[in-house]
């Protein structure tokens, strides 16, 4: 998906890509703004991303230094249970993560100096995803989607982020 014409300048150059996964790990939506490097094929990349999120959640749930007893590493957990994480940073990018109670995972990859995106992710979920995808009568829940209005509104919104 290409950037909207004229949208190349401004803060949207800080965005890299976005993934949305359902609770089974199916990638519902993948959006690229800028991605010069991808080592793997698109499908492999999405699988690896979901795997990383899954392992990171198990890791933080076990590592949790204040939560008391946590069971074994890798023990099954209910949605929203256990210590989760909201972002990690490397020298080249920052990944922000949100999970809804239904198990929908939204991942936003940006440049490494991006500020806290927790509110932005909530906004994307409730004001863009729910409004333009979930409320679309032709959309079958929990399936991959292609939605023009969603893309437009997402593009417009991420331009306001810094």
């Amino acid at each position: 998906m290409l950037q909207a014409p004229g949208g190349a300048v401004g803060s949207s150059t800080r965005m890299r890509c976005m993934y949305m996964f359902n609770r089974q790990g199916v990638c519902l939506h993948y959006h690229v703004w800028l991605r010069p490097v991808s080592v793997l094929s698109r499908q492999e990349d999405q699988k690896l991303m979901f795997g990383l999120l899954f392992s990171l959640k198990l890791f933080t749930a076990k590592m949790d230094p204040v939560g008391g007893s946590k069971g074994q590493l890798g023990a099954a957990q209910l949605q929203g249970q256990g210590c989760s994480f909201h972002s990690f940073q490397t020298n080249t990018y920052k990944l922000s993560f949100m999970e809804t109670p239904t198990g929908l995972k939204i991942v936003l990859v940006t440049d490494s100096k991006m500020s806290d995106l927790r509110e932005a992710l909530k906004y994307i979920y409730s004001n863009i995803y729910v409004e333009y995808v979930v409320k679309n009568p032709l959309y079958t829940p929990d399936t991959p989607f292609k939605c023009e209005l969603f893309n437009q509104n997402l593009d417009n919104y991420v331009k306001t982020l810094s």
Binding site: R16, C17, L34, R35, P36, V37, S38, V39, L40, D45, L48, M49, G51, L52, S55, L56, L58, F59, T60, K62, M63, D64, P65, V66, G67, G68, S69, K70, L73, C83, S84, F85, H86, S87, F88, Q89, T90, N91, T92, Y93, L95, V109
Partner: protein, 141 residues
């Protein structure tokens, strides 16, 4: 005063060579710390593959709900990581200090075999001193 919860040192193949708990509740047993260390090693490698732009060297900071994890990777592939209270300042500098201590008290120890677990009293002692000097609180152990 910000708290430090624990410190891990892993060698270049992902094996845990040093683990110290500084007062987290529900402490990790030996097996769990070994597993977590190698899990971190692999996730660190995966994060490089997922980078959208070239030149990525892996995760540096992980922000979880109840702790922050800062990771420092040396040029030889040894990784040090510390879990601290969310938002604790100066952990990156602390990790550099710990790396210096590792170089001084572990690597310069003639009886130490590289990549093997660290059993070194002076290292542990100086580590605690350094953490206290940087004004981080540690549990009563």
């Amino acid at each position: 005063m910000a708290s430090i919860y624990n410190l891990f040192v892993i060698n270049k193949s992902g094996g845990l060579i040093f683990y110290k708990d500084y007062g987290s509740t529900g402490r990790l047993d030996t097996n769990d710390s070994l597993r977590l260390a190698s899990l971190w090693h692999s996730m660190h490698a995966i994060s490089i593959q997922l980078s959208p732009t070239p030149g990525c060297t892996g995760m540096e900071v992980l922000e979880a709900d109840t702790f922050d994890l800062h990771c420092f990777q040396s040029l030889t592939g040894t990784k040090l990581f510390v879990a601290s209270e969310p938002g604790a300042p100066g952990i990156t500098a602390l990790l550099k200090t710990i790396y210096e201590l590792y170089a001084d008290y572990v690597l310069k120890n003639p009886f130490y075999e590289v990549e093997m677990p660290i059993r070194c009293e002076l290292f542990e002692y100086n580590l605690l001193q350094a953490i206290r000097r940087e004004k981080y609180s540690v549990g009563g152990r």
